[in-house]
C-alpha cells in the first residue's frame, strides 16, 4: 500500500523528513473538520494560558507542563482518529486530552484538584485520564506509558478490534529502556499502534542532539523493523495527513509505525524552569512558527474561511475555557474520608 513508502527514507540529506502539501490538502477536507482542528488548537492554547493564570493566582497546588506552541501535534494526530479509537499520552498532555473530546470543565476541575474532576482530584495535571472517552491518560514516569500502550494494542489485536491506539511521548523519552522494549514488542506482534514522538527539541533542559547521536528520532524505527518518519509538527495538516496514513496502516493490520512531530515548547519545562539552556532568539524564532497562527493564515489564504470565521472560532474557544474555569473554580473539593477504600477494585 501507498503508506509503505513512508518507511523508506529518500536518499540524501534530511533522510527521514516527509513533507505534505497542506494547502491543497486543506481543500480536500470537510469544513467542519478544519474548524474542529482550529477550535481544539485554540482551546488547548487558552486552556494552558488559563492554567498559567490560575497557577499565578495561587489556585494550583502542584506542578504542570505546558505545551504552548506544540498544539498541532496532538490535534492533528487525534483529528485523524475515528471516535472510538484510543490514545495514551504523557505529562505534557493537555492538548491530547482536549483533542480526544474531554469535557473541559471536568478537565479544569481535575487540574484544580476538584472532586468532579476526571480523576476526582487524585491525579492532577500530570495524570488526567478520560477512560470513557478512550483516553488512557497521562503517566508522570517518562516512558512509562509506552509499555502500557503495547498492552492496549495487544488487547485490541487479540479481540480482533478495528480500533487503533495512538501512543504519545516526548523526544527525551526515547532514551528510556521502556521505549526500546515496547516498540520492539509492538513490532513483532504487529499491533495497531502509532507511536508519536512530540519532539519539542528538549527534554527538561537537554537538547535532543546532546542526548543522542542521530539527526532524527524516527531513525530509531529501523531497530524494530517498522517505518519511521519525521514531519513538520507545527503544521496541523501535515500531522493529520501523515498520522492518518499511519493509522490506516495500523488499522489494516500492517503494524505500528513511529512518527516524529518536530515542534517546540515556548514555555519552560515546568514552573521551575529559568530557560538557561536556550536563547531568547530561539524561542522567538519558534514563536514565529506558531501552529495556530500558521493554520489560521492557511485557512484564510486558501479561502477556506474568512478572518471573521477564524476569529469567531478563536473567540468561542476562549469563552469555553473561561466558562470552564469559572465552573471548575466553584467545584467542590474532595474529602479525605476513606481513601484507603479506593485503592483496590472490588
Amino acid at each position: 500500500m501507498e503508506n509503505a513508502s513512508i518507511a523508506v527514507p529518500p536518499s540524501g540529506g534530511g533522510a527521514f523528513l516527509r513533507t505534505v502539501d497542506s494547502a491543497s490538502l486543506s481543500h480536500q477536507l470537510p469544513h467542519e473538520k478544519l474548524a474542529w482542528m482550529l477550535r481544539k488548537m485554540c482551546e488547548t492554547r487558552y486552556f494552558e494560558e488559563k492554567a498559567e493564570e490560575l497557577y499565578t493566582r495561587g489556585l494550583v497546588h502542584g506542578t504542570m507542563h505546558l505545551s504552548i506552541g506544540m498544539e498541532a501535534s496532538p490535534i492533528g494526530s487525534i483529528g485523524a482518529l475515528e471516535p472510538d479509537d484510543l490514545i495514551i499520552h504523557h505529562h505534557r498532555g493537555h492538548g491530547h486530552t482536549i483533542a480526544k473530546g474531554a469535557d473541559i470543565a471536568i478537565m479544569m476541575g481535575e487540574f484544580l484538584g476538584k472532586e468532579p474532576g476526571y480523576c476526582r482530584g487524585r491525579g492532577g495535571s500530570m495524570h488526567i485520564a478520560d477512560m470513557q472517552g478512550g483516553n488512557f491518560g497521562a503517566t508522570g514516569i517518562v516512558g512509562g506509558g509506552i509499555p502500557i500502550a503495547v498492552g492496549i494494542g495487544l488487547a485490541l489485536h487479540m479481540r480482533r478490534s478495528s480500533q487503533v491506539l495512538l501512543s504519545f511521548f516526548g523526544d527525551g523519552t526515547t532514551n528510556e529502556g521502556a521505549f526500546h522494549e515496547a516498540l520492539n514488542l509492538a513490532s513483532i506482534w504487529k499491533l495497531p499502534i502509532v507511536f508519536i514522538c512530540d519532539n519539542n527539541k528538549y527534554g527538561m533542559s537537554m537538547d535532543v542532539h546532546q542526548v543522542m547521536n542521530i539527526e532524527y528520532i524516527s531513525e530509531r524505527a529501523a531497530s524494530y523493523g517498522i517505518p519511521g518518519v519525521s514531519i513538520d509538527g507545527n503544521d496541523v495538516l501535515t500531522v493529520y495527513q501523515v498520522i492518518g496514513e499511519a493509522i490506516a496502516r495500523a488499522r489494516a493490520g500492517e503494524g505500528p509505525m513511529l512518527v516524529e512531530n518536530l515542534t517546540y515548547r515556548w514555555r519552560g519545562h515546568s514552573k521551575s524552569d529559568r530557560n538557561l539552556y536556550r536563547t531568547q532568539e530561539e524561542i522567538a524564532e519558534w514563536m514565529e512558527r506558531c501552529p495556530i497562527k500558521r493554520f489560521k493564515q492557511l485557512l484564510v489564504t486558501e479561502h477556506i474561511m474568512d478572518e471573521v470565521e477564524v476569529e469567531d472560532i478563536d473567540l468561542q474557544a476562549k469563552e469555553t475555557i473561561d466558562q470552564s474555569a469559572e465552573e471548575a473554580v466553584l467545584m467542590p473539593e474532595p474529602s479525605p474520608e476513606n481513601m484507603e477504600d479506593e485503592v483496590y477494585a472490588p
Binding site: P147, G151, E181
Partner: protein
Amino acid sequence: MSDQKTREITYLEAVREAMVQEMRSDPDVFLMGEDIGVYGGAFGVSQGMLDEFGPERIRETPISEEAIAGAATGAAMMGMRPIIEIMFMDFLTLAMDQLANQAAKIRFMFGGQTSVPLVCRAPAGSGTGAAAQHCQSLEAWLVHAPGIKVVAPSTPYDAKGLLVTSIRDNNPVFFMEHKLLYRTKGQVPEDLYSIPFGQAEVKRPGRDLTVIAYSNMVVRALEAAEILAVENIEIEVVDLRTLKPLDEATLIASVCKTGRVLIVHEAPLTGGFGGELAALIAGGEAFDFLDAPIRRLAGLDIPIPYNRTLERATVPQVEDIVAAARILAKEGK
C-alpha cells in the same frame, strides 16, 4: 472447598491447572512471558499449555521484563486478565516501575475510572545453587506498594485455589512460587475452586508457641513441629497464605492463645515482612498476652551465595526453626 474428586499432584501442576482451567472458562485470561511456549517456562510450569491454547494466549515475549509488565497493565485496563510469568523473582527489579508505579497506582490515580486485573507470577527463593541474582524473595517490596496484593501459597491445594482467586481478582496480584515447592505434592481437587484472600490457615494447631510463616517456610515449620512434638513442644503453625490482604485476626488469635511467637521467612531479616508482622502484634491486643519477646528467624542480610553449604546457612532450615522454637518455648517474663 470443592468436595469433588481429588488426587495427588505437585505444586507446579496445581499452578498450571489453575491457569489451564481459568483459561478454558474465561477467554480474557492469557499467559505472557519468556520461554513459556515449547520450552514450557524455565521451571516447566506452562508445559503443554501452548498445545492447548496456541501462541495467541500462551504469548511468548522477548527478554523485556519492563515491557511484559507494561503490556499486562495495558491489556488489563482493557478488561483482559493477563497472567505474566517473570522467570525469576529477582527480575522484578526490571519491572518495578510498571508494577509499583503504574499497575498499582492507576486505579487510585485515575479516580477509580479503571482497574488493573493482572497476575504476576514468579519463582522465588534459594536452594538450587543459582546464586545472588536468581534466589531472592522480594515480597517485602511488593507488600510496601499500595495497590498490589501479595499471595504466597505453601501447598498444591492452596496454590491452585489462590491462583484462581488471583486471576479473578480485579487488581494487580503478585503470586509468589517458591522453587523448592514446585515438586512437593498434595491432594488437589480436579474441579475449579477458589480460596478467598485474607484467610490464613492454622496448618498445625499447637499450645506452646505460634510460628507464623508463608511459602516454603511453612513446610519447614511443619517439619520442625514434628521434631519438637517429640520433645513435647507443641508449636502452632499459622500459614499466612496471603500477605496482602493479611488475616490479622487469625494470627493475633493464635498469639493470644500461645503467648509466644516466632516469625519465620526466607528473605533477609532487615526490612523483611517479619517486621510488619512483629509490629502488628506488638501494636495490638496481642501485646498484653505476650509472655516473651517477639522472635524473628529470617535470612541473613547478605546476597545468596552459590556454594551449597553457604546457601543453606543463609536461610532458615528446619533445624534452625527447631532451635529457635526450643529457646523461645522456655523464654518468658
